[in-house]
């Protein structure tokens, strides 16, 4: 009970801020008389959300499938890459440029290749999500692993702990803050990544909905889809925060003493 009250209290400023932005936006639309086609007022967006609820739900399902699979895949890829790169410095030096290259190429420029390699179905969307998401985690993990105090590793070596145990006992816990920071970034990008994947080629998904409403000048619908994307992303972000809280119990009792 108390915990819930607490969580609610902590979420309040965020909710208020979002609300404030929405109100300002609504006011702006009304006062400045902005054409709905350019920037629909939140009220119109909500209305559109209501009218398209079942359609949006169906599209969301397709998008979420890609997000779930792609995000999980990206976590695995990032972990595996980071661990191997940390263990073998030549591998790190060899792979780092390729990782960066994988991120500097605008996906849309490679869209045809993607679709030919991964097909027009779910796979290509999963790959896009994974490609967008693994990078922040991989970089953060690699950098975090570099920060791990070598003394702690030495101590474990003295105990003749194997690499797996060293990773579990010393490296992983030490890089968890880095990892979760990367995961938060990734979670934030993931839904958008799926939407982009759907723009490349799709039959279903929020990206399809968004593009179709854009092309038929239904800006309120476009924004309704964006709203769904935003809400899903925020949910994923909150889930990540929860996971971080669960995974790092030792962080819970620290606090700086009140000001002055």
């Amino acid at each position: 009970m108390k915990k819930w009250a607490n969580t609610a209290k902590r979420s309040l400023p965020g909710a208020l801020a979002v609300l404030a932005v929405l109100l300002l936006w609504e006011a702006l639309c009304r006062v400045a008389d902005v054409a709905v086609s350019k920037l629909p007022p939140p009220s119109a967006v909500i209305l559109s959300l209501y009218h398209n609820a079942s359609l949006l739900a169906e599209h969301s399902r397709a998008t979420l499938a890609a997000v779930a699979a792609g995000l999980s895949l990206s976590v695995l890829v990032a972990l595996a890459l980071a661990v191997f790169m940390d263990r073998h410095s030549w591998l790190k030096q060899a792979l780092y440029p390729l990782l960066i290259i994988s991120q500097t190429i605008p996906i849309i420029a490679l869209a045809p290749l993607f679709l030919i390699w991964f097909g027009l179905g779910l796979t290509s969307k999963i790959v896009v999500v994974a490609l967008v998401c693994f990078f922040p985690m991989a970089i953060n993990l690699v950098e975090g692993l570099e920060q791990v105090d070598p003394e702690t590793i030495n101590l474990l070596k003295v105990m003749q702990a194997g690499p797996a145990m060293i990773f579990r006992s010393a490296q992983l816990p030490a890089v968890l803050p880095y990892f979760f920071s990367g995961l938060k970034i990734a979670a934030t990008y993931s839904v958008m990544g799926a939407v982009i994947g759907e723009w490349l080629a799709a039959r279903w998904g929020l990206g399809v909905f968004m593009l179709r409403s854009m092309r038929s000048y239904q800006t309120a619908n476009t924004f309704a889809a964006i709203l769904v994307v935003v809400v899903l992303s925020l949910l994923l972000f909150k889930l990540t925060e929860l996971a971080a809280w669960l995974a790092m119990p030792w962080h819970r009792h620290k606090s700086v003493y009140p000001e002055e």
């Binding site: 086609s37 045809p112 097909g119 080629a201 039959r203 593009l211 409403s213 092309r215 038929s216 000048y217």
Partner: protein, 306 residues
């Protein structure tokens, strides 16, 4: 790909790639789908929107058919993609340059000193240049900008002065919105610019290996477009049924505007004339947009239109 005609066999699965989001240009196909014309040909057709990748995927054999346009087919064939235009969806080019009425852009000469907002193809520049030069105006005074995915109607209201639109969709939307446009239709100015857009394409490999499949697909598709011309409201409903995200009012109005443009003055829906392929290719070549002429006879075919 089967031998087909026996209708109790498993239907052949077919993928059609859309070069844009669903719109009234595709209504004939959606009508064929909804009216069961494809089923009658024992085809299970799936539409996937894949803007920007149609040519690659069709020529890679990952999809049977796609929607494209003459200019793209030309570039693509030059680049080595074995795609062939198998039908003209619209008999004439309905695109042109739109601008707000109060900008007073009524002839290409009026482009001088104005900003063009486009989607980033070199053909746009060449076209504007050609039209202006024909009018004796100075092309160098025009600013060309990319405005990518931005709604053309917003583009011409904001940063740019004129944009290239398809009247049957964007122009109709402007009418619905009550925006007053000046519209310079390309083919009115230079007959060479009356190229085919959009067209249906298929890969050479498929044409070679399974012409019969294409035959069936085209038979149903042609029926669909005839149906759309005769029953615009029903065709619009068919489109809306498959893309409920679209604006009904726009679809209806656009369908009404377009219903006579599918077949127009051609003897049959979909037929393409060699001469028009030839003259536009020539036009592109003369302006250095393509380095060599393509063999237009290989670029299109009417053989699947009975």
């Amino acid at each position: 790909a089967g031998d087909g005609s026996s209708s109790d066999a498993e239907p052949d699965k077919i993928t059609v790639l859309l070069d844009w989001t669903p719109n009234t240009n595709y209504s004939g196909m959606y009508a064929a789908l909804e009216q069961g014309f494809y089923t009658e040909e024992n085809l299970a057709v799936e539409f996937i929107q894949a803007p920007g990748s149609v040519i690659q995927i069709v020529s890679g054999g990952k999809a049977e058919f796609g929607v494209s346009y003459q200019e793209e087919v030309t570039f693509a064939r030059l680049a080595g993609y074995p795609v062939v235009s198998i039908a003209a969806v619209l008999q004439h080019n309905t695109s042109g340059f739109a601008s707000l009425k109060d900008k007073n852009i009524t002839t290409p000469a009026d482009f001088s000193g104005k900003t063009y907002g486009g989607w980033g193809s070199p053909v746009e520049e060449a076209t504007i240049k050609a039209l202006m030069e024909k009018d004796g105006a100075d092309y160098s005074t025009v600013t060309i900008a990319t405005t990518g995915e931005v709604d053309s109607l917003i583009v011409i209201e904001q940063e740019a002065d004129f944009a290239w639109i398809y009247y049957g969709w964007t122009g109709v939307e402007a009418e619905l919105k009550g925006m007053e446009l000046n519209f310079i239709q390309l083919r009115d100015i230079d007959p060479a610019l009356d190229y085919y857009t959009p067209v249906l394409v298929a890969g050479e490999a498929l044409i070679e290996e399974n012409p019969e499949l294409i035959q069936r697909f085209m038979r149903a598709t042609a029926r669909g477009y005839r149906f759309a011309a005769e029953n615009p409201a029903a065709a619009a409903e068919a489109l809306l049924a498959n893309a409920p995200e679209l604006d009904r009012e726009l679809v209806m109005a656009s369908q009404e505007w377009l219903k006579d443009k599918y077949q127009d003055d051609a003897p049959r829906w979909g037929l393409q004339e060699r001469e028009r392929w030839e003259s536009y290719t020539q036009w592109l070549f003369e302006r250095g947009l393509i380095e060599e002429m393509i063999d237009v006879d290989k670029a299109f075919t009417n053989r699947f239109l009975e």
